[in-house]
């Protein structure tokens, strides 16, 4: 029951955050220079009547940001997110086309990055070999020092991987060092705890030591990173999809930004924030779920 209340509270918080974010974005878009101006107004081929008609079409309603936003929400509830000014296609269709590609790449990248980061962190904490620790730490530091766009460019230069695979690999390289450093610090602290040293001294088998004394106690703290890593993965997807020419949401957001197709860009940003928010909420709930004790 408490869990259900917590779930409802978290979900409401995420939704409210996204809704308020949307309202702020809508107000910003209305205030942006050039809002309500159609490029065709400057095209000499259009006559005065046509330009007047175009202006009428592009003119924002006089009610302000809030009524506009509420109208948008009502339309969005029926699946109508409007039409993209730069792509001349429904926004919902554009997003539906690109969203799965980004989700797949981000999912694969997250899985790869988390696996690599956790395996290396566990090995570093379990083996307690300074050389291994130093090597893994240096590799993580190296990838932390590089912008995701440079990693994507390296992938393009290497030229061995296809678009979507390259995106997943770059996202994994962005996630891995962060997971490794965070998990290594937590696992290191737990590995040095007196009860773990005692278990070692008593000759507890390595696998049992790893599972019962390292992984289980550290899991809640490490899980807290899951939500943030989803946000980082989506952020990294923009330059990577652009450079690797992978038609996903990141590339669409970049194209919308360059063409100043602000409604499309805001829709994408809100969707991505919602996904990141839900991932964060799931991580929070998983972290606070009571552990099942062996009987």
């Amino acid at each position: 029951m408490r869990m259900r209340a917590r779930l409802i509270h978290s979900l409401t918080t995420v939704l409210l955050t996204v809704l308020v974010g949307g309202l702020i974005a809508a107000a910003l878009v209305r205030r942006s220079p050039g809002f309500g101006v159609d490029e065709r107004e400057f095209d000499a081929r259009y006559g005065q009547d046509s330009i007047r008609h175009i202006r009428e079409e592009a003119k924002p309603s006089g009610g302000g940001a809030l009524p506009d936003y509420l109208r948008f929400l009502v339309r969005a509830a029926t699946g109508d997110l409007g039409t993209s000014a730069s792509f001349h296609r429904p926004v919902a269709a554009l997003i539906a086309e690109r969203f799965p590609a980004t989700m797949r790449s981000a999912g694969a990248g997250l899985a790869l990055g988390w696996t690599a980061g956790m395996l290396l962190a566990l090995a570093a904490a379990g083996l307690s070999r300074p050389a291994f620790d130093l090597g893994a730490g240096a590799a993580a530091a190296f990838f932390l020092c590089l912008p995701s766009s440079v990693l994507a460019l390296a992938m393009v230069l290497a030229g061995r991987l296809g678009g979507k695979t390259a995106v997943a690999v770059v996202i994994a390289l962005v996630i891995f060092p962060r997971v490794f450093r965070y998990a290594r610090a937590i696992l290191g602290r737990i590995a040095a705890a007196p009860h773990v040293l005692m278990a070692r001294a008593r000759g507890v088998r390595p696998w049992r030591l790893l599972w019962a004394h390292l992984i289980r106690p550290s899991a809640p703290a490490i899980l807290a990173l899951l939500g943030v890593s989803v946000s980082v993965a989506f952020g990294a997807a923009i330059p990577v999809e652009v450079l690797c020419d992978s038609p996903g949401l990141g590339q669409l957001a970049w194209q919308a930004a360059l063409k100043r197709d602000l409604p499309l860009l805001v829709d994408i940003t809100l969707l991505v924030s919602l996904v990141a928010g839900i991932a964060g909420m799931a991580a929070d709930i998983a972290r606070s779920a009571p552990a099942v004790e062996p009987s």
Partner: protein, 268 residues
């Protein structure tokens, strides 16, 4: 101080000095075109060769470093300042101020960093003069990057607020301004400094990513972002390792920051 940290600080100081002295060290201006020598190889005249427009790459690297290395700390200072005002207010006053500010922090932190930058950058005019683009880029970083430091400072202010000396100061009837300026802020100074130092490399990387996407500092003014964007011309890079100089310098500077302050902020 560990020797590695000391060496990193010395190297970073040397790079900063070279960047700040670009006007004296660079053999030519960053925009001057030597039209008779486009795509020149490194030589005594052009230390790092020239680009396809005949501009001295060494001069552009120095001036670009000056832009990125001096404005990233400025943006970090702005983000830390805004974060300090929000975080300390939330942590100290509590109540509805804390609730509202905490929700605002959550709002900023819930949007993936690059999506947030891209969206707000696109709201502003894209065709601006190069100097305006510098201002816009680093102001954006400073004004949008406040939520991370604010969250940390809010937690720290909460902690310090419940210390005995703070309770005693309030019980003695000290004014809020006195409590804040004499007791709270001095105790938060190490956290503030850490947040400032941690923001610099993050903003350098963010500017590089924005520049790569064509939404950062506009040409002809060089910055690490648009210098790295030049690497996208694969034909020009192939067989010309000296063109990787901006990337190498970025790596060196980031490694120096890495040794000076651990980059633990996961959210960007």
């Amino acid at each position: 101080m560990k020797p590695l940290r000391r060496a990193a600080m010395a190297l970073l100081a040397a790079i900063y000095l070279a960047a700040l002295a670009a006007a004296w060290l660079a053999p030519a201006g960053y925009a001057r075109q030597f039209r008779e020598s486009p795509d020149a190889k490194p030589s005594a005249v052009f230390l790092l060769g020239t680009d396809e427009l005949g501009r001295d790459s060494f001069a552009r690297l120095l001036y670009g470093s000056r832009v990125s290395l001096s404005l990233a700390p400025a943006a970090a200072a702005l983000a830390t300042l805004v974060g300090a005002v929000a975080g300390v207010s939330a942590g100290y006053w509590g109540g509805w101020i804390d609730t509202c500010l905490a929700r605002l922090m959550d709002l900023f932190l819930s949007v993936p960093w690059l999506f947030l930058l891209l969206s707000v950058r696109a709201v502003l005019p894209l065709n601006v003069r190069p100097l305006e683009s510098i201002g816009i880029t680093f102001l954006l970083l400073g004004l949008l990057g406040w939520a991370g430091p604010a969250r940390v400072l809010r937690a720290a202010a909460h902690e310090v607020k419940s210390e005995d000396f703070m309770v005693q100061a309030r019980a003695r009837g000290s004014s809020p301004v006195r409590v804040l300026s004499l007791h709270l802020l001095p105790n938060l100074a190490p956290v503030l400094a850490a947040q400032f130092w941690m923001s610099i490399p993050l903003f350098i990387l963010s500017e590089a990513n924005l520049g790569f996407l064509g939404l950062g500092v506009a040409e002809p003014v060089p910055s690490w972002g648009n210098l790295l964007a030049g690497l996208q011309n694969l034909d020009a890079v192939a067989g010309c390792p000296w063109r990787l100089a901006p990337l190498v310098l970025l790596l060196v500077v980031m490694a120096c920051f890495h040794f000076i302050v651990p980059m633990e902020d996961f959210s960007k």
